[in-house]
Amino acid sequence: MIYFWAFVIGGLITAASQVVLTYTKLTVAQLLVILVSLGAILNGFGIYDRLIDFAGGGALVPVSGFGSSVVAGVVQEVRRLGWEGLFTGVFELTGLGLAAALVFGFGLALVARPKG
């Protein structure tokens, strides 16, 4: 069942984004910023974690899942360290992906040629 909901929720978030892009003047970059912030805020209310329990990758994979993971990391690290966790926790769950993006992004852009 989780696979069904992962597909449907992931699809609904991207389809809704497509509709927003069509009907508003928002650019993709602006929408990404809005979604990432929205994911963080919804996690603050404990909502986004429940959506991940329910839809797994459907909630985690859209960039809103990235914003939500920043908050999850902060709370996890504050629990462990206290106030220092507010800072160290920011990259607790997302640092792996960001470092991967920079390392692979750098390497690939160095060797790959743009198509077309």
Binding site: A6, F7, A15, A29, G44, G57, L98, A100, F104
Partner: protein
């Protein structure tokens, strides 16, 4: 021709966005990428000790997929077909970094490639961190973690 009338004519002749078709494609592509993410998440839930580590590994793996597919020119094709279905998942975030870095490679490593990695990713990361910090602070206070 009077500019007003000209603009009106251009608008009439321009291809109308097919909202239903575009949204359906975004739904299908976004759904498929999320489903792949679910399989990746399943795998890491088995081998990682905590849920948090599984989340981190899943995000990184999807970012890796997005970066590699971009380098091979595949991801931009997906984007042409599926619009937001390609752009909104975390793979699209990776795509935004690698594709602009590739495009500006010729301007040099520092002034081109590495600075253009952040054209779209920069604002996304700043908002994720700043909003995440504030919400994390409020959430931690609400949960009584500072007591």
């Amino acid at each position: 021709m009077d500019p007003k009338r000209y603009r009106q004519l251009v608008q009439e002749r321009a291809p109308k966005p097919n909202v239903v078709r575009d949204a359906t494609r975004a739904f299908l592509l976004g759904g498929c990428i999320a489903l792949i993410g679910q399989f990746v998440f399943d795998y890491f839930r088995l081998i990682e000790p905590t849920r948090g580590e599984a989340v981190a590994a899943t995000l990184a793996t999807m970012i890796f997929f997005g970066a590699v597919l971009t380098a091979f020119g595949v991801y931009d094709k997906l984007g042409e077909w599926g619009g937001a279905g390609a752009a909104i998942p975390i793979t699209g975030f990776a795509n935004s970094m690698v594709s602009s870095a590739m495009d500006f490679r010729r301007d040099g490593i520092i002034t081109g490639l590495t600075s253009k990695l952040f054209v779209i990713a920069g604002p996304v990361i700043v908002f994720a961190v700043v909003v995440g910090f504030i919400v994390g602070l409020l959430r931690s206070a609400f949960l009584g973690l500072f007591a």
